[in-house]
């Protein structure tokens, strides 16, 4: 699969969805594609989800084999009509979770196949940040930090640095005793702690909190 390509949900995707079961991260990937078809390259989505190149390849292959996504071939008119920005900013549809069930073709009409100028005018400002009331998926945040810091043991050490920045009292109050870096999957519902973890993650990665939230949005907006 080509990571620099823009994959679309297939016409049959809506019909297939109820029959399929995937791990969480694979649904997140599909959901990101379905929310903004024709906009993001696979590589950009992989970065948003904190996935390695190999991990992204595997998931794309699975989704494609199940008939959920495909690489569309366009006529020149369609190409001109699409608002494709392979390396541009992350753009998300306005629709909330209910959009999952919306027919794929309907989404295309409102987002992808509008004339470029009109499409730009209609798309709301980037709002890929996690919902304020959504619990923090700590495992996803840690994967993001690891991947962005270079993966492997360097990535793991970046996670360690993130926790070194947290006050001991905070860690004790949260009841942290041990975190296995390859398997940690925790939900952090304490808003203050979640914000602090995000803040420290952004410090370690040298990103603003806003930039981190943009990257993290794809992970937690489900």
């Amino acid at each position: 699969m080509n990571l620099d390509a823009i994959y679309d949900p297939t016409a049959r995707a809506t019909e297939l969805l109820p029959t399929l079961r995937f791990p969480l991260v694979e649904w997140r990937l599909y959901d990101t594609l379905a929310r903004s078809p024709g906009v993001l390259t696979a590589r950009t989505i992989a970065q948003q989800l904190g996935l390695s190149v190999e991990g992204m390849q595997t998931i794309l292959e699975r989704l494609s084999a199940c008939g959920l996504i495909h690489l569309p071939e366009l006529g020149y008119d369609e190409f001109q009509a699409r608002s494709v920005e392979p390396t541009g900013p992350v753009v998300a549809c306005e629709a909330g979770p209910a959009n999952h069930a919306a027919p794929v073709e309907e989404q295309r009409t409102s987002v992808s196949f509008t004339l470029r100028k009109r499409a730009r005018a209609k798309i709301p400002p980037a709002s890929n940040e996690p919902r304020a009331d959504a619990p923090l998926q700590l495992g996803a945040l840690l994967r993001l930090v690891r991947e962005r810091a270079g993966g492997g043991s360097l990535g793991q050490l970046a996670v360690y640095r993130m926790f070194l920045k947290l006050p001991q009292e905070t860690l004790q109050a949260a009841g942290f005793e041990q975190l296995d870096l390859d398997t940690a999957e925790l939900e952090v519902r304490d808003r203050q702690l979640a914000d602090l973890l995000r803040e420290k993650a952004s410090e370690v990665l040298g990103l603003s909190t806003h930039e981190l939230n943009q990257l993290e949005g794809g992970l937690t907006s489900n």
Binding site: L154, Q156, L157, R161, L164, Q172
Partner: protein, 163 residues
């Protein structure tokens, strides 16, 4: 200390096994531990000070030390030899770290602890624990650091603080 600096300790730690025995060691799954650490039979501890404070600790079970001694042609596997070997490993880690960091961090001469003496050891709260696997045995390399000098406890204190 950023992750690249920290990585120096990991590289030197894992390379010790290959350089000493000719057989590569591998990393296991790393974990963060908070307020407690699984120390094994013998530990070589290196104090670090500078913009990060704390200690780097290589902790090894007796059986692994005995196997290492045999692999290096040593027939004696007494307590003294086991302790000397973990001290030597820690010295190599410390020496390489000094070369890498120069004056940026002060790397103290290592000290060795048996499991019974480890109660004297007080480490900063958040620790990075990386298993090193070699010939089916497992040692742990522990980074126990603190970012701010003002909040870092001394790695050695009279208060028992192992757990």
């Amino acid at each position: 200390m950023n992750q690249h600096d920290m990585h120096v300790f990991l590289e030197v730690g894992v390379n010790f096994f290959e350089k000493t025995t000719g057989e590569k060691a591998t990393f296991g799954n790393a974990a963060l531990q908070f307020g407690k650490s699984d120390l094994l039979d013998y530990s070589g501890v290196i104090r670090v000070s500078g913009s990060s404070e704390g200690a780097v600790c290589l902790t090894v079970p007796c059986a692994m030390l005995d196997e290492l001694l045999r692999a290096t042609g040593e027939s004696e596997t007494t307590e003294r030899y086991e302790r000397d070997l973990v001290g030597e490993a820690a010295s190599i880690i410390a020496s390489n770290a000094r070369k890498h960091f120069g004056p940026r961090f002060a790397i103290a001469p290592p000290e060795t602890f048996g499991i019974d003496e480890a109660l004297q050891l007080s480490l900063p709260f958040a620790r990075f624990v990386l298993p090193i696997q070699w010939r089916g045995y497992r040692a742990n390399l522990i980074l126990a650091l603190s970012e701010s000098a003002s909040t870092a406890p001394s790695p050695f204190s009279s208060a028992p603080c192992l757990t």
